[in-house]
């Protein structure tokens, strides 16, 4: 559906996107993740034809972005970051203008508005001026704008940023509902969101792709390397450290400051996928220490994200 090859974008000397290659299939919901300034928005803007790539190529349904940008624009519904709409228009007027420009036939327009207003929950605000709307409502109007012609590809740039939790869930619901039939690309820096809505996650950092996998695979990878939090009564830190080290020399044990009196804490990381919980318990049983806390934290996507995008 969408082929991106060696895509780069320079702003003067600054390289915002550095030779990205991607292949997006029909029906995928792709989450583009990355810290601020990683090049997410720039990538999306190039996909929508708002910016021209400095080098590389984008093909959408075998149309090149350089030669057929008008036809590509017809295939794509785009919601820019923070939905910059025309502030002085009424919601209905705005949608009508968009419908006209996007070539929705006059007979079908009204029907389409009805469907969109049901899907995005606009029926109460059709008569309001856009500058009276809250951010979440604007975002919904923006979504309706993007879906006006029922496009095959939807590109949403941070569709939930700045919304309250209820609105986030609503927008997410809409995305999953329409995602069943469409190819959707979402950019976000909120991991839980990508986890909840996307079936493929691409993490980019400093303009480069650092991970590209299904969200399940990424999660599985994350769970393999786990981290154990252990707190003990009745023990001395150095002594306990040595005892724990005896289990396996390759364990990574970090002494932690404990907030409570008489309690010492460790963070234990095991390399690979060895389960060391049993060994730890048996070791402690031999002593007179008392376990206050013994928790295995599965490594979350957050951790992976942090590791992949950390400043090197």
């Amino acid at each position: 559906m969408i082929q991106v090859k060696n895509l780069s974008k320079y702003y003067n000397d600054f390289c915002a996107v550095d030779k990205i290659s991607l292949n997006i299939k029909k029906g995928e919901i792709l989450g583009l993740l990355g810290p601020n300034g990683a090049g997410k928005t720039t990538t999306l803007r190039m996909l929508t034809g708002f910016l021209k790539p400095s080098s590389g190529n984008i093909n959408i349904k075998n149309l090149s972005i350089f030669n057929d940008s008008l036809r590509i624009k017809k295939l794509i519904g785009y919601l820019p970051e923070s939905a910059p709409l025309y502030h002085n228009m009424l919601v209905f007027d705005y949608l009508e203008y968009v419908a006209k420009i996007k070539g929705v036939k006059k007979e079908k327009r009204f029907q389409r508005f009805k469907r969109l207003s049901k899907l995005c929950g606009l029926s109460q605000i059709m008569h309001l001026s856009i500058n009276e709307l809250s951010k979440g409502l604007k975002q919904r109007v923006g979504l309706a704008h993007a879906m006006m012609t029922d496009p095959e590809i939807l590109i949403l740039d941070e569709p939930t940023s700045g919304l309250d939790p209820n609105q986030i869930i609503e927008i997410r619901d809409i995305i999953t509902r329409i995602g069943k039939e469409k190819t959707i690309i979402i950019s976000t820096h909120i991991l839980s969101e990508a986890e909840a809505t996307c079936n493929r996650i691409v993490i980019i950092n400093k303009g480069k792709i650092v991970a590209d996998d299904t969200s399940q695979n990424l999660k599985q990878k994350a769970q393999k390397s786990s981290c154990i939090n252990l707190s003990l009564y009745n023990a001395e830190q150095d002594k306990a450290y040595n005892v724990l080290k005896e289990i396996n020399n390759s364990l990574e044990i970090i002494k932690k400051e404990s907030k409570e009196k008489d309690i010492i804490s460790f963070e234990i990381k095991s390399p690979g996928d060895i389960d060391i919980r049993k060994d730890i318990y048996l070791k402690i049983k031999e002593t007179n220490w008392i376990i206050a806390e013994f928790i295995r934290e599965p490594q979350t996507l957050e951790k992976i994200f942090q590791e992949l995008t950390r400043e090197s």
């Binding site: 803007r45 929508t48 034809g49 708002f50 910016l51 021209k52 008008l70 036809r71 624009k73 017809k74 794509i76 785009y78 820019p80 923070s82 910059p84 709409l85 025309y86 502030h87 002085n88 228009m89 203008y97 968009v98 006209k100 420009i101 996007k102 070539g103 704008h145």
Partner: protein, 234 residues
């Protein structure tokens, strides 16, 4: 063509849904009305020569005020991104906005048609120069609108867009009045560049193809500049 009309209609309606239209039209009518009629009875001539001789200067201030928001506001708010990612070409956008500004200018001129009507009630008015004057005003307005659209797409700040627009239009208006300071070799060329002279010759009722071509080429250059700036932004 359809897209140009869609954009033009939207921009044109925007003028009238905000106070801009009413403010600009009233200022225009008050200023032209005052300057024209304050001397009208002193000259005691039933023509509109004075009105049309004022137009280039007034237009060079009023038209940039009309066009300043066309691109600057969109770039500033960010809706430019929405506009450009919809299936419209840059040419459609530039022409649509230009046509909206031109029609607005025409609307601004319509109430002044009452002047020749009233004058014809109190004296014999020669219709030739009046009709020529309005045709000329339309072309002059078109040229200044194109330049205003161009200056608006240069910046996200409406005030800067206005000042740049005034600077360009005002220069074109007065350039053939300061020929005195020019070296002899370029006098005739610079004289041809001035919009005022071309407008005056149409408003005498003589429609010369050179004047028409002059205004059309200014319009073309303004819109071409707009198109190039949009490509550069992309």
């Amino acid at each position: 063509m359809r897209q140009i009309a869609n954009i033009a209609v939207k921009e044109f309606n925007d003028y009238f849904t905000s106070p801009i239209a009413y403010i600009v039209i009233s200022i225009f009518l008050v200023v032209t009305g005052w300057f024209f009629f304050s001397t009208f009875f002193l000259f005691d001539r039933a023509d509109m020569r004075n009105f049309f001789s004022l137009l280039p200067i007034i237009f060079s201030f009023i038209i940039p005020a009309i066009t300043m928001r066309l691109f600057s506001e969109e770039i500033n708010v960010g809706s430019y991104e929405i506009l450009v990612t919809m299936p419209v070409s840059f040419v459609d956008i530039a022409l649509g906005k230009f046509v909206a500004a031109l029609f607005f200018t025409a609307c601004m001129l319509i109430p002044t048609i009452s002047y020749p009507v009233f004058i014809s009630l109190i004296g014999e008015i020669d219709l030739g120069p009046v009709i020529g004057g309005y045709i000329g005003a339309f072309f002059l307005g078109g040229a200044y609108c194109a330049l205003g659209v161009f200056s608006s797409c240069l910046t996200r700040n409406q005030i800067i867009a206005f000042i740049v627009g005034v600077a360009i239009c005002f220069t074109l208006t007065i350039i053939d009045k300061i020929l005195f300071f020019m070296p002899k070799s370029i006098v005739s060329f610079v004289g041809f560049l001035g919009a005022g002279g071309h407008f005056q010759s149409i408003s005498k009722g003589v429609i010369d193809s050179r004047d028409i071509i002059y205004f059309l080429s200014i319009i073309f250059l303004g819109l071409l500049g707009t198109y190039l700036v949009m490509c550069k932004k992309n």
